[in-house]
């Protein structure tokens, strides 16, 4: 998957003509890189500048001017501290849940189904099937399934398993559930890729040396699938922390579950408070970069980039 894609740096070409042809390389690279500079790097700079803007004195709503108001950051942290904590808390729990759900599934696809190529292909198709239907619709479907009088809660209430006023949608649990659900394929596929290449003789060796199945799993299988686990957790955690669909009122959330993405959206698109939205974006991006760098370093693979 994406995060593993840059790990295998193919050896640069060695033939003598390669150096001479670096002009061709420049022509090939320039349009795409210029595009990314203009529509990825400049926007980031633009966000930093916007985050430091101040209101035009006597201006309308949404009118800001160039300034260096670093206090904007303090203001948004004070105002949206809870949103920020919720984002990373929800994303962390959702990532752990998605990992616990996906690992056995990936193991099943990559190891158990090895002898059945057709079933394996079918299983992989089922894993990516959710990609083919908008995640907004899938989340709305969960909202309706889990609604107060819906299939699940309605039945449980009729059977008096749950009290009549029990509800799921709008709670932190529902938002975390939605986040975990939405990113299951992103977790399963990279772990599958690691496990599919796993040499089973190592696992057999563990058993031959009288290691218990649990011991074999934790000292052989799990470490060998670590690259997949790292990719999967990053591919889940990063988008989950920035998501604002699951936590929004019309989906699985409520005002009490609003995350940093919801604060950025409402500040930018509704309140036209661009400096606040920009400061929150920078805080989100910086925190994620720091967390990812620390995580990647701790897990011992520094060749992700």
């Amino acid at each position: 998957m994406a995060f593993g894609a840059f790990t295998t740096t193919a050896a640069p070409p060695t033939d003598a003509g390669a150096r001479k042809r670096s002009k061709v390389a420049l022509i090939l690279l320039l349009p795409g890189l210029a595009y990314l500079a203009l529509f990825f790097l400049v926007p980031l700079v633009s966000l930093v500048l916007t985050s430091l803007q101040s209101k035009v004195p006597g201006g309308d709503i949404g009118e800001y001017q160039f300034d260096l108001v670093f206090a904007n950051y303090g203001t948004v942290v004070g105002q949206y501290g809870e949103h920020i904590l919720r984002s990373f808390g929800y994303a962390l729990v959702a990532t752990v849940l998605a990992l616990l759900f996906s690992y056995p599934l990936a193991y099943f696809l990559g190891v158990t189904l090895r002898r059945f190529p057709l079933l394996q292909a079918l299983g992989l198709t089922l894993v990516i099937a959710p990609f083919f239907i908008s995640f907004l619709l899938r989340t709305l479907a969960w909202k309706q399934i889990l609604s107060d009088e819906g299939m699940v809660l309605g039945t449980l209430k009729n059977l008096s398993v749950l009290p009549a006023d029990a509800h799921v949608t709008g709670t932190a649990g529902a938002v975390i559930f939605g986040l975990a659900y939405n990113f299951i394929p992103f977790m399963t596929l990279p772990i599958y890729t690691s496990l599919e290449k796993l040499d089973l003789r190592y696992v057999e060796a563990g058993g031959d040396l009288y290691a218990s199945p649990a011991r074999t799993f934790f000292s052989v299988t799990l470490p060998l699938s670590a690259p997949g686990v790292i990719s999967g957790t990053l591919l889940t955690f990063i988008p989950a922390a920035g998501d604002y669909v699951n936590a929004s009122n019309s989906f699985l959330g409520s005002p009490d579950t609003a995350m940093i993405g919801n604060a950025i959206e409402s500040n930018f698109l509704t309140q036209q408070n661009y400096p606040a939205a920009a400061s929150l974006s920078i805080i989100l991006m910086a925190t994620i970069l720091v967390l990812v760098a620390a995580y990647v370093r701790r897990s011992g693979t520094e060749d992700l980039v």
């Binding site: 840059f6 966000l47 916007t50 990609f131 083919f132 899938r138 669909v245 993405g261 698109l269």
Partner: protein, 269 residues
């Protein structure tokens, strides 16, 4: 160990996998089922089976327009991103140049940045530059986030390409452009097609970045988000279900043909 528990331990993972797949498919089945619902204003309660929504798809306000807009944006940004990304992928795999590390980082970062930051950043840029939000700004945004994924996909293909093929072309006095058109490009084509499909899927399904940069322009996901607040019409389920079926059929066809080809190759050798 008695036979029951041995049976259980052997098949637990099968049981788990079946339950996991059922769980993953629940909202998909739900969405497809409700495309056949004889709904009135809201599509929440089941009121009976009907094909009406499939047959009178475009009667619901805005569904078809939003769908057409998404196709347009998907096609244009796929062409742009696939072209730019393929060029970068070839350069990365085949040429030696300075700033290689910086280039790789610039390609990696958009994939590691939360979408909300990408969306807000572009919106801030367009705001500062005074560019009004429209189909154009959406296409510019989609092309940006698709490029990195194209590079990843095509680069894998370039790296697996046997340089001897191109050498053979040169040995037979083909000009560099002939080698590219007759040898390199056809060999890269499966990778390029895969990258284009991935780009289209990413663009078609994108909501978060689109929401920040579309203004009055409505794509299909944006239609869903706006309509979700007041209740979604069943026609939205119809569009999504139709897309789902087409995509599944395409994937299964590709898998079956490649399985058949593998079998044929195995039989020959």
């Amino acid at each position: 160990m008695n036979s029951v528990s041995r049976f259980l331990s052997k098949y637990t993972i099968w049981l788990y996998a079946v339950l996991a797949f059922v769980f993953m498919l629940v909202p998909i089945v739900y969405t497809i089922a409700f495309s056949f619902n004889d709904s009135r204003r809201s599509n929440i309660e089941w009121r009976g089976f009907t094909l009406d929504k499939w047959l009178s798809l475009c009667e619901a306000q805005g569904v078809c327009q939003a769908f057409a807009n998404s196709i347009l944006v998907g096609l244009v940004s796929t062409i742009l991103a696939t072209t730019l990304g393929t060029m970068i992928a070839i350069a990365l795999a085949r040429y030696r140049f300075r700033f290689r590390a910086a280039t790789t980082l610039l390609l990696f970062l958009p994939m590691a940045t939360p979408e909300v930051v990408l969306g807000a950043g572009l919106a801030a840029e367009f705001l500062t530059a005074g560019v009004p939000k429209s189909a154009l700004t959406v296409i510019l945004a989609h092309t940006m986030f698709c490029i990195s994924f194209v590079v990843v996909t095509v680069r894998a293909r370039v790296a697996s390409l046997d340089p001897a093929m191109e050498e053979a072309g040169r040995d037979l006095y083909a000009s560099p452009s002939q080698v590219f058109i007759r040898v390199t490009f056809p060999l890269l084509l499966p990778g390029i097609i895969a990258a284009a499909l991935l780009s289209f899927a990413l663009s078609f399904d994108d909501f978060i970045i689109t929401n920040f940069n579309s203004g009055p322009f409505v794509t299909f996901p944006k239609f869903l988000y706006t309509a979700a607040a007041r209740g979604l019409p069943a026609e939205a389920n119809v569009v999504a279900s139709a897309v789902f079926f087409i995509a599944i059929i395409a994937v299964v066809t590709v898998q079956l043909t490649s399985a058949a080809r593998r079998k044929r190759l195995a039989a020959q050798s």
